[in-house]
Amino acid sequence: MAKVDAEAGGNRPRLSLHVPEPRFRPGDTVDFAHLQVPEAGAQPRPDEACPAAETNPLCTDLIRVLGSDNQAHGPWNPNLTPDKLRLILRQMALVRAFDARMYRAQRQGKTSFYLKCVGEEATSVAATHGLDFEDMIFPSYRQQGCLIARDYPLLEMVNQIYSNRADKLKGRQLPILYSARSVNFFTISGNLATQLPQATGFAMASAIKGDSRIAAAWVGEGSTAEGDFHSALTFAAVYNAPAIFNVVNNQWAISSFSGFAGSERTSFAARAIGYGIAGLRVDGNDPLAVYAAERWAADRARSNNGPTLIEFFTYRAEGHSTSDDPTVYRSAEEREEWPLGDPIARLRDHLIALGEWSEDQHAEMDRELAEEVLRTTKEAEKNGILGHGLHHPFHTMFEDVFEELPWNLREQSEQAIRERKIKWPD
């Protein structure tokens, strides 16, 4: 047997391993011609209660509303009022202003870490507007836009980032890993994709109780490779959970391009097909399309038609975080050449085209927002910045491990307070 196999093996082709490689590396000329960018408005919009299979073509298409003429097109046009459009525009611009200021604060040593979402603002802000306020958001770490879309106080965000004495989370969490129950925003984990089965569980619990709240989770495309993603979708499919899974495909997971999560073979939205749930692939830089898709999925979930997987196709315009240097692994031209533009600019131009906005108003708004953010950071600094003494008292370190303090934590708490007198005598 072994001998025959060895003989046959002599004629066989040699196997080779495929290791994905992105199209462009630093210094390369960028050409996104391979990306299929369909006409805005050309994608059909099935009824929210349709069988999941009817969405299969939309899993590889790209739902778009805003055309290059800056007008809204087609059946996915959510027909939002100018006021609502201006609100979404303002909140996206606020996210960008906040990111810029917090990035600087990190560089100035006021905090240890920050993480921007430049270019992806629509995927959080516009999507949140597609949900009801009662719906629970299970975010990853790049969804500061969800908080801003729900009017969460900027001051609380900065206090959290500075881990100061006013930080509601008692200085325990890495900056940007917010928790905001008051606005139905679930506490963020640093362990990727863990929020997905939790969102499914929340949605199932809501269904068990006959409630009307749904759950919406966000995850990066890189993190869809985690087992949690597949567990979450399996459970959601099996129990028809009222959940939405938003995959933010910003093309990069730190330095690994989306190919390492499997994008060379199919889209991320297409994973819905295997689970028999609805799937939508959406232009993530088109706030109207993002809003419409999230709203569609929310209506579908709320009417007991089950979960939806949405891929927001977008681009991470800046580094992964303050600890990252994207010039090492990707071409600097990518950002400029990105064929789907910038979500803020696209909505601005749409409003201008509608006669509801102007360049001057926009510039004025940006100035106001920058001032508001600056004012807020000054306010937060009164409560302290990271490592400058104005933190929570030591005993809080031992609280909330359990509901009640066991003997070992009581002893350790006393030790920390004793050590304090030696380490910091004043």
Partner: protein, 354 residues
Amino acid sequence: MARLDADEDPVSLSEAPARDLNMIEAINEALGIMLERDPDVILMGEDIGFFGGVFRATAGLQQKYGKTRVFDTPISECGIIGVAVGMGAYGLRPVPEIQFADYIYPGLDQLISEAARLRYRSAAEFIAPLTVRSPFGGGIFGGQTHSQSPEALFTHVAGLKTVVPSTPHDAKGLLIAAIEDNDPVIFFEPKRIYNGPFDGYYDRPTKPWKGHPGAKVPEGYYTIPLGKARVAREGEALTILAYGTMVHVAEGVCREKGVDAEIIDLRTLVPLDIEAVENSVRKTGRCLIAHEATRTSGFGAELSALVTERCFYHLEAPVERVTGFDTPYPHSLEWAYFPGPVRMGEAIDKILEA
């Protein structure tokens, strides 16, 4: 010190009529009582619904409480525990079953990084009041994939409580307390003693629970507080710290050898009843620690360190550990692996001779 007697909780043995139950029946009763009392309690796990679980711990509960309270899940431990965390955050009290403790590992990240830290990282905005039930330990010819005792792993994680009952009476009271607890609890059921106390003499006929004092299970609701140990046997010569099946092995050895040991059944490893441990070791001056799990970095190491730190000047002999070996659980040689009367007897002699 906590004792298995009436003064421990008012609705306990003295008042409510008690019957002899085995551990599975006691667990089933606890689950039924909690499903009845609290509409937020739900049970889920592989095969636990219609079938009632491979060990029958949930038998009849789906029929009685319906499919949205008691249901089967996909074979996805990550999903089971992750979903339970989300349900807990919503306000339910999920009681997920992991079919065997050996299969808890695919769900480990959701337990360790998520359930355990939800309260801490959200400054108590969100909690995960789940009780993960799982049969553990060997002695049923389960081979290396159905016999492990991973409890030490969980005791190392801040924010998890770890419970191991050793009698039907305790199983019911501790499980009810665990389900009512607002922290995530790992409830390890020593499957070797599901149907009868086991003294480690594998070649003798298995005794049923009937007639054992720990099998007297009061009807209705009662709790045994987490963090309270039980003196399973009073004695003067040495202290044996044990939990689960090993409590019975220790009792058997003391009976057979006529050793006047005090046996402390820890009941919960976290929170640990340090007072019960200290009081007994100070009294006897000698300490033996028994568990079925592998030796290196097992929970016995923690107990040994605590006893040494806190009772050193009362000790008249080095602390000894009786444990499983540092190998996987071997199928055909499981009785060579199991820390039974021979290993324990030797250790007792060594301690008493010192």
